[in-house]
Amino acid sequence: MAARGFLNLAQATEAALIIAAQARDQAAFGELVKRRQGWARALLRRMCNSHAEADDLAQEAFIKAWDRLRDLETPAAFPGWFRRIAVTTFLMAKRKQKAIFEEIDDASPIAAEESTPEAAAGAKIDLEKALAKLSDAERLCVTLNHGEGLSHSEIVDITGLPLGTVKSHVLRGTEKLRRLLEPAT
C-alpha cells in the first residue's frame, strides 16, 4: 500500500500500476485489470470456443497473476508473462476436459473446409466463426502465431508442445482458415 499514496490510478503508467500491485495494492491491480482485460479476454476467446469459458479462464489467469506478481522481474515483461499464465490456464482447463494437443487431427482433412458464403461474397471475414471450426490445438497455435506474433519456438516454449506438432498445427490451422475465409476464386 506504500506506493498508493503517490499514484493517480487513472493517469498512472502501466509500469507504475504493476509496481504498486507488486506492493499488494489491490486498487492498482484493479486498474491494471481494467486496462488489460480486453486483450486478455480476446486472447482467450480466440483460444476457447465459448465466450463464458474464456472469460472464466481470463478471471482465473488474472487472479493467478495477482498471486505470482512478485515473480515478475520487470514491468515491461508483463504482457509476455501474463500471456504465459493465460495459456497455461487454458491448457490446464483443456487437459481437465481430456483435450489432447499433441496429436495431429488427420481425421479432419484440410480440403474438407469450405469457404463461407460471406467470404465468397468478399465480405469482411468473421475470424471468430472461422476459428471455431479449428481443433483446440490448431486454434491455440494459430492464435499465438498470427494473433500474438509468436514464433514457432516461442509457442513451443509457452505450451510445451513439440516443435513439429506446433508447426503442423499452425500450418493446418492457417490452411483451414484460408479455405474458410478467402473469397472463392
Binding site: R24, Q26, F29, G30, V33, K34, Q37, G38, W39, R41, A42, R45, R46, H51, D55, A58, Q59, E60, F62, I63, W66, D67, I125, L127, E128, T143, H146, G147, G149, T174, L177, R178, L181, E182
Partner: protein
Amino acid sequence: MNDFDALLKRSFAEAHEPADDGFSVNVGRGVARSEAALKVRNATYAVGMAAAGATILYGAYGLVGIFGQEILATAGLEVARAHSAISSAPTFSVQGMMQALGAGLSQGLLVLGALAGGAVVYRQVQE
C-alpha cells in the same frame, strides 16, 4: 508473408476486445478472496509454529523434571569437592603432584584432540 497472412494478422489485430466493469469487479472479488485465504494460511502457520514451540518447551520441561534433580545433585557434589580441595591445607608430595599433572595433561590432551578433530571436520564441511 503473403496476402492472406497479412489479412489474417490484420483481422486478429482488429478483432473486438471485450471490456466491461463486471469483469474487473469479479476479478477484484477473486483477488480479495485470495488475500483473505492467504491471511488465513499465514495465521494457521503462526498458530502451528506456536503450538510446535509450546510442545518442545513442554517436553524440555518434562525432561528437566525427570533428570533435573540428578543433575543438580551431581553439580552440588562437584562444588562441594572443589570447595573442600580449596579450603583444605595444602599438602605437597612429588607423587601427588605427578598424579595431578598426569590427570591434568590427559584431560588437556583430550580437549586439544577434540578441538583439532572438530577443526578438521569443520574444514571438510566448508570445502
